[in-house]
């Protein structure tokens, strides 16, 4: 009986895992997103840490922008600020969506948008680092 139950549980696990994979393909979602969103949820705590990390980073960006405006940096800082502003414009609508999904505990969409925000942050950090602005990662 015990062996039968173990086999049943294992079978169900494999079947459900397969279903998640098929659903991801059907919905054109990134691989692993349906299972990942359950195993590694984006909680209010994640959002809180992300946003506080961003406060530190954007404080640095504003500081760089002010130094650029006052003429204390080389003229190429103008292009750097424009590039960084483009990342911010791309990221803000996603951040607004993320706030809504996390509050509704819509984990599938929250995970998708959280990962998109992280991708933009990776690009932003790269551009900022090249200009000598250290943007901390969020834990």
């Amino acid at each position: 009986m015990k062996k039968f139950l173990i086999a049943l549980v294992l079978g169900a696990g494999i079947t459900l895992g397969g279903c998640a994979g098929m659903a991801e393909q059907a919905l054109n979602l990134p691989s692993g997103i349906l299972t990942q969103s359950v195993q590694n949820p984006v909680t209010r705590d994640h959002l809180y840490r992300l946003e506080n990390g961003l406060i530190v980073g954007v404080t640095a960006l504003n500081s760089y922008k002010k130094l650029c405006e006052s003429g204390q940096l080389a003229a190429n800082c103008i292009a750097t600020v424009a590039t960084l502003q483009a990342y911010v414009r791309r990221g803000r609508p996603l951040l607004r969506q993320l706030r809504i999904f996390v509050r509704k505990n819509d984990q599938v969409n929250a995970r998708v948008v959280f990962d998109q925000v992280q991708m933009i942050l990776v690009e932003l950090r790269g551009t900022a680092a090249a200009a000598g602005i250290p943007i901390p990662q969020t834990p």
Binding site: T43, A60, P139
Partner: protein
């Protein structure tokens, strides 16, 4: 252990950033406050009001950064 390493890395980058801002004579209160919040809260401690306040502060900073640059080439 990987988490500890990552948190240490974040802390060091954040502290370097705050030190750099302070050396430039910038107001570091917002950055220090945010950095403290990243590390001091346990998951169950975050209230809706704190989250709202964090979002308001971040939106203000993002608004400021999005304003056009007051310097032309």
């Amino acid at each position: 252990m990987a988490d500890v390493g990552r948190i240490f890395e974040v802390a060091m980058t954040g502290l370097n950033l705050v030190t750099s801002l302070a050396q430039q004579g910038k107001d570091i209160s917002t950055a220090v406050g945010a950095l403290t919040k990243v590390f001091s809260k346990r998951p169950q401690d975050v209230t809706e009001e704190e989250l709202d306040e964090t979002e308001r502060q971040l939106d203000e900073l993002l608004d400021e950064f999005e304003k056009p640059l007051g310097r032309k080439e």
